[in-house]
């Protein structure tokens, strides 16, 4: 078995899935309402590319979603990481913020969606805040644990060599915590991604998440599938970008 390259297994699983899809749809076993055949999916995609969806082009929907993810994730991860580093470094900061972070982390975003609408309106602000709140606790916890897990010996060694507190933080704690911060960021992207649809429920008329929701209302499964594929591929691309960035910045991790 070990002679078969791993890639072949991946190709095989994809091929089985596609074959099942073709058989079920073109074979007439499943109605297009439940699972659109490849040609309809392509037509749907082409339709979206050329004509757009409800007043906006596909690119505009894509852009709207990407912007929200970017804004929510970057702000959430930045504030979260900063807070997490402080929490890991100073117990008092941790005591100040931990209850809120721990409470917020498992909270389903839909639970407070309505409050965000009332507080921040139906525009971009409430959507980005929702994504911000999704990204923040994940990053904070990752950064805090990253700092916590720095071997004490390293800090002691640096201190005995006469390093200042700032130097210890900058040259010992931060680099040691970086791999965990990156792991947190990748999980954060996932969470933000998962929250996107919830965010776009708020007075949408733009965004891939909204498009999927709206098309789903009318059982336009071709658009729904196209939207899911696009969102999925975008998520993969984002993850790859983060992995590449991680390999660049924390190339020593795991060695």
């Amino acid at each position: 078995m070990h002679r078969i390259p791993l890639r072949a297994w991946t190709v095989l699983s994809a091929a089985v899935l596609v074959a099942a899809w073709l058989t079920l749809t073109w074979g007439g076993y499943v109605r297009d309402l439940f699972l659109p055949p490849p040609d309809e999916l392509w037509d749907g995609f082409w339709d979206l590319v050329t004509d757009g969806y409800k007043g906006r082009t596909l690119l505009e929907h894509l852009e709207a979603s990407l912007w929200r993810i970017f804004a929510g994730f970057v702000t959430g991860a930045a504030v979260g990481t900063f807070l997490g580093l402080a929490m890991g470094y100073w117990r008092s900061v941790e005591a100040l913020f931990a209850p809120f972070i721990e409470f917020l982390r498992p909270l389903p975003q839909l639970a407070y969606l309505m409050l965000l609408i009332i507080w921040f309106g139906i525009g971009e602000t409430s959507k980005i805040i929702l994504l911000f709140l999704a990204a923040l606790p994940v990053s904070a916890v990752a950064a805090r644990d990253g700092v916590r897990n720095v071997p004490v010996q390293r800090i002691h060694a640096a201190r005995s060599l006469g390093a200042s507190e700032w130097q210890i933080f900058r040259h010992v704690v931060l680099p040691s915590a970086l791999p965990e911060i990156f792991t947190g960021a990748r999980i954060g992207v996932g969470v933000v991604y998962g929250t996107l649809i919830a965010a776009e429920i708020i007075a949408g008329s733009s965004g891939l998440g909204w498009m999927i929701l709206d098309a789903g209302r009318f059982l336009r499964s071709d658009y729904v599938f196209v939207g899911i594929l696009l969102i999925g591929l975008m998520g993969l691309a984002l993850n790859w970008a983060l992995v590449a960035l991680e390999a660049r910045i924390v190339h020593w991790a795991g060695r």
Binding site: F34, I117, G121, I201, I202, S205, G216, F218, R220, Y223
Partner: protein
């Protein structure tokens, strides 16, 4: 059962039976269909001020069908469509004509078996008094909220079209009724096209009615709420469907005969005061079952009425909106109306 739609089906069935040489089957088919009622009926409904709520609240449907009813609360017709397509809902009470048109166009397997009401002025444009909107042209640059895919959305788009406005002139936002009220209270939107209780709430919070319905109805933008039944369910349990329609028309009779008592019961079910319930109820034109059988509406069994054209007109709008792929022939909507059980319920 209906003569118009089911008859060919049954004939084919009988022919098949005869072809198999099954004389016993010939006798067995109707008996099997009639003898046993369903154990459980899955009924999707909206919480709202409609006489149907009396039939629900007082258990009339359970009494008449002698079946257990699984009441499923929904927030939109789209949910009913999805649930029927999945086979989880047998009867949809009060689904709007827009989602119904979409459902029939996509042949998800249900039929319109009765109407609840002609919506008329019950769904209407509300404008913020402070926004100073007096003519259709004043809507330019304004934000209007409506739940997408609803009958209200259909009317709103009709309003824009009739007045030569586009979505570039007016920002149309997709807001569920509860979110719409929140957005209104914050001052995020200038106008709303929606139904009660959201409508009464925005009216109470600095809104006034901007009348559109009469002109829109004249221009063909008729909207209504109907009752749909999964075709396979109607075929299997025709008697149960007749019973459900009987219970519904009894509820309507009660509203007509004793509006105050009915409003109290309905209000209790919908969670609003008797006064609010009555006020809401008065805005709907609850078309009596007899009138529904008129060619102007659903038509008598076997002769689908004008409502099929309303549904096709709605489908044209939905196709423009890309909500459905193409506009089916009128015959698709005519076949989607089955007033056989309704005629039986009246008999």
């Amino acid at each position: 059962m209906t003569q118009f739609i089911a008859a060919p089906d049954r004939r084919t069935l009988l022919k098949a039976g005869l072809g198999l040489g099954g004389a016993a089957l010939l006798g067995a088919t109707p008996r099997r269909a009639r003898a046993a009622g369903p154990d459980k009926i899955n009924i999707a409904y909206f919480v709202g001020t409609s006489p149907t709520m009396i039939a629900k609240g007082d258990g009339w449907i359970e009494d008449l069908t002698k079946a257990k009813v699984n009441w499923i609360e929904v927030g939109s017709g789209a949910e009913i469509n999805t649930a029927v397509a999945a086979g989880s809902v047998d009867i949809g009470l009060g689904i709007g004509s827009s989602p119904t048109s979409a459902g029939l166009a996509q042949s998800i397997g249900y039929e319109v078996i009765a109407m609840l009401d002609n919506i008329g002025p019950a769904e209407e444009m509300t404008v913020r008094t402070a926004a100073n909107i007096k003519t259709p042209a004043d809507f330019k640059g304004k934000k209007v909220g409506t739940p997408f895919g609803s009958t209200s959305h259909f009317r709103l788009m009709g309003f824009l079209k009739v007045n030569g406005l586009t979505q570039r002139d007016v920002t149309v936002l997709d807001l569920r009724p509860d979110a719409l009220v929140a957005a209104w209270q914050r001052g995020d939107i200038d106008a709303a096209y929606v139904w009660s209780p959201a409508k009464s709430k925005v009216l109470a919070a600095g809104g006034e009615v901007f009348r559109t319905y009469d002109k829109l109805e004249a221009a063909g933008y008729v909207i209504a709420d109907v009752i749909v039944a999964r075709t396979a369910f109607t075929q299997a349990y025709p008697d149960a469907v007749v019973s459900i329609l009987k219970a519904n028309s009894q509820a309507l009779d009660m509203w007509t005969a004793t509006p105050d008592k009915a409003a109290e019961l309905i209000g209790k079910q919908a969670g609003v005061s008797t006064a609010v319930a009555k006020e809401d109820l008065l805005q709907y034109d609850f078309v009596s079952p007899k009138v529904q059988l008129d060619p102007a509406w659903l038509g008598p069994p076997g002769k689908p009425g004008r409502f099929a054209e309303v549904l096709q007109g709605t489908a044209k709008f939905l196709a423009e909106q890309k909500s459905i792929r193409s506009v089916p022939d009128l015959s698709v909507f005519q076949k989607g109306i089955n007033t056989g059980p309704l005629a039986q319920a009246l008999a």
